[in-house]
Amino acid sequence: MTIFYFVAFLSIFFALMTIFTKNPVHSVLYLVITFFTFTVHYILLNAQFLAVVNFIVYMGAIMVLFLFVLMLLNLNKDTEPMKSHLVKFMGVIAGMCLLVTFLGAFRVLETNNEFVQGHADIGLVKNLGKVLFKDFLLPFELSSILLLTAMVGAVLLAKKETRTNQNG
């Protein structure tokens, strides 16, 4: 039980560090740690498959992509653009308002305060796979098309336009 609160504390701490650190490279690293804490949460929730996917896809692929881009563009603390303090303050206030609204909503809705019951089986690849390929087959296939288009789009966008270069 205490593990959850400890890990939750860590998540919040590193999330805050992510957004408040000036150096973007550090930000990415903090975010990686945050996602790692999320992986722990998934394990705590008995969602083993998700934990693994989160670990590989998010921490591995996506975060590396971010880091790669940051380094490609050669961004560091000196080039980091920062907003004025007033805007920052406003942003924090707005975020807090949102949080208060959320909490108020939970209160109004009187969400069930029962304990979360873990089920040992549902998080396994076997069960998830069954659901995924039975009930969610069509969305699954569609998501594959989405990924394909995203890939094509990303390649097309990031490709250097030779024609423009010749002209320029």
């Binding site: 992510t18 930000s27 979360v116 998080g123 990924l147 990303a154």
Partner: protein, 109 residues
């Protein structure tokens, strides 16, 4: 494994809700206060992840695997989004030599 299970048995659902909300709001604040487009995208990832976690928590709470399937889809979506988004950022950087969101000020009347 069994030990972990027992550990998490005592967490009320509300706490998950609050925890995820906090992470989500941190993401929102990150979007609001940073000017670096890459950081903003990272904040968005943060928001997505908070929702993911909440979905997983609901899934466990209800004993329904559909929630975890949703998480799976969201991850696929996030991957696509990041790929395209970063490609756009690279394009923008090539043209403006900056990742400052203020440099994208052509979205106006």
């Amino acid at each position: 494994m069994g030990n972990l299970l027992e550990n998490m048995q005592g967490i009320p659902l509300n706490h998950y809700l609050i925890f995820c909300s906090i992470i989500f709001v941190i993401g929102v604040i990150g979007v609001l206060i940073r000017r670096n487009v890459i950081i903003i995208m990272m904040s968005i990832e943060l928001m997505l992840n908070s929702v993911n976690l909440l979905l997983a928590a609901f899934s466990a709470y209800l004993g329904d695997p559909s929630g975890q399937v949703f998480v799976f889809f969201i991850m696929a979506l996030a991957a696509a989004e990041v790929a395209v988004g970063l490609a756009i950022i690279i394009m923008v950087y090539r043209n403006t030599k900056s990742v400052d969101i203020e440099s994208l000020n052509k979205l106006r009347w």
